[in-house]
């Protein structure tokens, strides 16, 4: 069994091996380590904070229960993002996308994670809200497969090859989807001030 201090410094591969054996500390560290990227991806895909949390929890649940199917060909984060993406898309199909409702006030993030300060520029919070609405609207109009491709690359930082492997599509299709998505999102930013 890992103690908490050892778990924090252990590489993903070691944590996965221990988690497969039922090590709770290893599972917890895997979740804490990768929760952020999973949450950002789900939030971009769903446009809603609470739905994103539900999708992340569902994705982590499936990932850990089925950890034996992780073959190590990709990184754990890449594998997890694929599962969370599928969970988010499934959830999105079940629930109609609805406008994002901020769960916190301007300048404070959930769980004590503050957004960048707007003290220096009082209009920054409003501009950021406008931008978020425009991008959410643009993402909502993309077909799920294209949205997932773009978010995996732009938010999770996955390479073309990693996205192609995760989605089971040719790398040329990844590039064409990215090109299409960027064009559509750029259209949605037309007229948005402050960029």
């Amino acid at each position: 069994m890992l103690d908490d201090a050892t778990a924090v410094s252990a590489p993903d591969e070691q944590l996965v091996a221990l988690a497969r054996l039922g090590d709770r500390a290893a599972r917890e560290e895997l979740c804490r380590r990768h929760w952020g990227v999973a949450q950002r991806v789900a939030r971009r895909l769903l446009g809603d904070e609470q739905d994103a949390l539900d999708a992340v929890q569902d994705g982590f649940l499936k990932a850990i229960v089925h950890l034996d199917s992780f073959d190590g060909r990709s990184g754990f984060s890449t594998w997890l993002v694929r599962i969370v993406t599928n969970a988010a898309l499934d959830l999105g199909r079940k629930r109609k996308r609805r406008p994002s409702v901020p769960l916190v006030g301007p300048g404070e993030g959930r769980g004590g994670a503050p957004e960048p300060s707007v003290d220096d520029d009082p209009t920054l919070g409003l501009r950021r809200a406008d931008l978020r609405r425009a991008l959410d609207a643009g993402l909502a109009r993309l077909k799920p497969a294209i949205r997932a491709t773009f978010v995996m690359h732009a938010e999770a930082g996955m390479s073309y090859q990693e996205v192609a492997d995760a989605l089971g599509i040719p790398i040329g299709t990844v590039m064409s989807r990215l090109h299409f998505a960027r064009g559509k999102l750029q259209e949605h930013l037309n007229g948005v001030e402050g960029l």
């Binding site: 229960v65 501009r127 299409f180």
Partner: protein
Amino acid sequence: MGVAMNCRVAAESLLAGPHEGPGSALADHLAGCPACASLAERSARLDRAWALTRPHELTGPALDAAWARLDAALDSAARRPEVLAFPGPRLARTMPILARAAAVLVAGAIGLGAWNRSPIDRPALAESVIEIGVGETVLIRQAAEGPAAERLAMADIPDSVGLAVDVLNVIETLAN
């Protein structure tokens, strides 16, 4: 002195976004190409907007609470493992749909064969042409207005994008 970049390569570099950023060859090209410079500016606006709207992440007590919920759900799932369906590969998830579609088509063909042998008068067949591109997965269903196709794979791409798709695929082929 390096080889000058052309518009196709410049567009590909811009497509890569901020993660795989431009080199000096791209900067040189943009300085002398207003069309690509405009494309670069639109691309940069998107990148700035994306960065400014980066979703925040759970930390501290909120992350503790999320882990506690997940841990409890894992305990529950351990007692009822059958409730979790693993999201398998796309093909595996699509196969049941395709199998159903195939079954419907086979049943239709069998029925049509039997019907063709019937001597009684019959109404004219409704016909429909459904174009299916290479690599597309299509579910054919009977709609009120006649046969209709549901595209299960990537959506139609406008003609204006088609050229870019071809260019990018050619670039990929050459790179390989």
